[in-house]
Symmetry: D2
């Protein structure tokens, strides 16, 4: 079994904590180093972190001394996961990559870089070849891979089989997003208790753009983005975990809801046979019960790594409409990044 030492950057934040929790019993990866801001550096993780996960802080992490997010302090790891805030991610992640330390990042900063893979293993595993186009280091030892926005993950996971079969022409969606997506302290309770907020700053442009890169074709070391319009309204709802999307899609070819549902139901991911520990048995579960999926009931399905779909039906406008949902901080953030790392190991990029 592969065995690697991993670092976690931004370890005291909400995403960093999720990395540490999900990696606690990971069969391949051992958390060896934790990085945070200067304010935390030097303290034990137990002192530095205001632990917000519902399971106890892993003992291994609790006793570690937090390091500064400097590459020279992370020479003992094979790669790092980054849960860094976007205000510092560009600089720090770039510095790590230049120092020859692979960075598997949840931050948005490098997602639009044309040589940085924006990766969902079930959707575009071939994009990891882009790594070879990066030149952070001469020998290719340092590089960056990113995972998409937490709404984009269930969106593109469900669009992928439809796009292959029918060609996506246009997409309109509304997201109802969980509060955990805003980190901690995040959304004030006075804003969201018994309420809906119809705006999440900066979210919609990511939902409009990231799908086009994820569904791009890789040709001669370059991504040729696909091109269809996406119109999103991102809202916040009083839910702990799980972003729910209502999606209406127009196709290039003629197709109906029954065909679309069957495609999603039967879809076998291209990584199904790789034995990646965090990969769900099936990337999509289609619910038959019209009341499903629901975030509180289904966000944790398959350790939070499965996208749930329901209510696939013909639409009066465009072609079909359906509901999709995925765990935003697992599948849509730390868990997605860990699955990326597993694929990168299997493909020989981490060694």
């Amino acid at each position: 079994m592969p065995s690697y030492n991993a670092g976690v950057l931004g370890a005291t934040g909400a995403v960093g904590q999720k990395f540490i929790r999900l990696l606690e019993n990971h069969p391949w990866f051992t958390v060896k180093a934790l990085g945070a801001s200067e304010r935390s550096a030097g303290k034990s993780y137990r002192e530095a972190a205001n632990w917000i996960e519902s399971t106890p802080m892993p003992e291994l992490a609790a006793g570690m001394k937090v390091r500064s997010c400097k590459a020279e302090e992370f020479k003992d790891v094979d790669f790092v996961f980054s849960g860094l805030d976007s205000s510092v991610a560009t600089e720090i992640e770039g510095e790590f990559a230049k120092a020859g330390i692979p960075v598997i990042s949840n931050a948005k900063n490098f997602r639009t870089d044309p040589t940085v893979p924006l990766l969902i293993p079930e959707v575009n595993p071939d994009h990891i070849e882009l790594i070879r186009e990066q030149n952070f280091t001469k020998d290719g030892s340092g590089w960056i891979v990113t995972n998409p926005n937490c709404v984009v993950v269930p969106l593109v996971t469900t669009l992928k089989p439809l796009h292959e079969a029918f060609g996506i022409k246009s997409v309109i969606l509304t997201s109802m997003q969980a509060i955990s997506g805003a980190g901690y302290p995040g959304v004030p309770s006075l804003d969201i208790l018994g309420n809906v907020i119809p705006l999440i700053g900066g979210e919609e442009s990511k939902i409009h753009e990231e799908p086009l890169k994820l569904l791009a074709e890789l040709k001669d070391g370059k991504l040729i983005h696909t091109d269809f319009p996406v119109q999103a309204t991102a809202t916040r709802v009083p839910v702990i975990n799980g972003h729910l999307l209502t999606v209406t899609v127009g196709f290039e070819k003629s197709a109906d809801a029954a065909e679309a549902e069957k495609l999603m139901r039967d879809w076998e991911s291209p990584i199904a046979d790789l034995g990646l520990p965090s990969a769900p048995p099936k990337p999509i579960k289609v619910h038959d019960d019209e009341r499903y999926p629901q975030p509180r009931l289904h966000a944790d399905s398959e350790q939070g790594m499965q996208t749930a779909v329901g209510r696939v039906r013909n639409a009066n406008v465009l072609d079909i409409t359906y509901v999709a949902m995925a765990h935003n901080t697992v599948r849509g953030a730390a868990g997605g990044a860990i699955l990326n790392a597993e694929l990168l190991v299997k493909k020989g990029f981490i060694s």
Copy 2:
């Protein structure tokens, strides 16, 4: 000032209670009679009703003896409001109309009847002329008027000025609906606390069809329905009052968001000068703050009778997209019916 005696059918239910609360200090209407099921008939209203409003039960109503929902027991009223359940509304409302008692109903049963006005006073006040086509009684003394579904009210209120100016071509919307819309006991807390339910049974077909009647043209005593496709996904969220809608609209004519927003902002309702007590000063309020409208903050604006709009912007798919919100049990139910009654008084149908 006009002065009329009103009855309330279905008085112990959630909508019935809202009628009683809203009518408590109404300048024109006095609640004179309360009707409910045989189980409640004969008891005082205080005993019969499990009062769920947050203000105390009005003393006047509390002391009334509840009657059976039979027309012969309501000879002392000028008209009745109906908050009847749809399982009994067809029969009872029909019986009242035949007995010469006007029925102003919140039930869905007669909404699709071609001679029954489906009425939003600001949108289609001329439709009340349809009453003359009804033949419940020979002398025209008994008739039925209905108000639309609670999602349709803010939807069509905002579509109306756009339709007049640009012609609606297609509509896609997602509704996030408050729990009060399901009545009492309604939605179990175990289903909705910290959750979203992506289905409200029977709701979407009303949202697809009612706008076409509301925006119909009345010609020679007949409604010529307008015709455009509407695609709705109706969801339930943990909010007490206020249905929030994300709406994307395509137009017949070329138009952009700035024009659309200006139209909604400037729209003067055709009933503005009638002095109806429950009419809001402006039917639509356009919020400048992108975080608005929010159900908890704005559902009660203008006594719950105003539709709030925000985030009007150009859409990547279809033409424009925006957020709309209205109080579902006031503007979208009992309050809307009371405004209907006020218009009917002013137009001479109630006398």
Copy 3:
């Protein structure tokens, strides 16, 4: 390893569903038979139950045909768990016991019967000897054992070591109870969203009385109840799982909070060495963080079987005060009953 066939009575209700979920992978017990009302009997469990658990319905149960709750239909089980409603539990549980089928019940009906053990394995395991005093059958093959009210479990679990050391003189408590305690559909969302209800009908008398039986001394086949006054106020809060209690206690002997906390922290349960699969490693966890325990964070600790304690401090009135919390439908209901069954197996009462 022991291996027994179990039935579940009241299988379609909330407690019945929890039994089925918790028994899905139980190492000793296999669910063999499901009983419910006549309305459900004959249907498959998949059809009969409105499944409300967040994990999928176990396939084994889903395919079972639901039986009537008649002893003659349960001849193929070694014993039954009862999640029956109290309106029918007296008759049905009695009939099963008389037919020689042991009943391990969560219903309240037999809790006050002087020959029926009211059992928390860590607190009063010796009380199971009371079974020998029951005379449902001549050969002792049929009997009933009950578990306490869901507030009483964390209350008495924490009082037990204090009572042994100092003698409880009086107890004042307030419970903040989760909505899952009311079953399904249970508490209407309109009642509890953003609210607290300061009354749970019938709850407080159980909290006043059951501790005195649980802490009773068994002498010559009879329970000599302990005697101290308990004053409870039971409230409902918008929490999914986990009842939180604020408890203030007066002692017979002089003692302070530090001593009390140490006792709770160090308490070794008398069943620690029996290897019962559902027994938590320690019955009580004392949290050092003053903000803990919290129901959403800690209800699931140790598979929902551990009582959490925090804020043990000297009180200005009486002697000490603290906060306790346990999962109401696991430790306080189905999980507690399963642990009872495990103890009864180990002690030879089930064979």
Copy 4:
């Protein structure tokens, strides 16, 4: 009618906003000046404040230029309300008093000062005479009056008639406190949604001590504190407004629940005849319905100024037990301070 110009210190904070909202249509007081931190000073209030009230920001306030909290900038007001944070209240309030500007404060800083009245007009109106003992200014023109902690208000309002009749011997209470009590942004939603937090830092000591000053006897210009032990556990619940208390009380004299309830029900406040605009008709409302009071239903009763009581019953420990509730940011904060100002006007201290 009296007419005064008032300033508001800490005007951009949650309490400051509540002052501005409640004073919008006050018959006696006009908001003339708004003070906030240096960061806000010089901006218009519209720009400076992140308005969190559900009614629109009053136009008058919106257009005002925010001032620094310096006495010299407030020469045009007759007195100031203070919603200052405790980190700055000692210095700023003291400076205003020394400059001859009366301060009516919601901050805790001067509550324990032996010459500063801690005032609930219905409970201890005579304590305002203490003002004469203050020596902020030689001519007595500058002074400070405070209102109590938001839990203490409903607690002492209900204890007052009981104390007069029976003598309070001891009190045990649990508070379930609304999130609005923590200000804005206040409690993170991830902490409190679907949860209870069993600690509110710094709250319990106020609940233990303030009642003893409020029920003190004023003799020769000095307060002789009453003396009984109070034991409180302060918890946070997911409620917007309204602190609910479960209170158990022991008396010096023998008394039962029926007598206590009658006393609370009949209690006429000593300020009943003064015509204070913010005084509720009765300071206490005793609910007959055992399910009441509930914060969401009753916090706004009598414009949020009335304390609601329910479930008065004999206790198994101590003497009686009951539930009390009041609006924490109205009666328990800004509204209480405004009522204090009204009393001070009536008694001639403000002129």
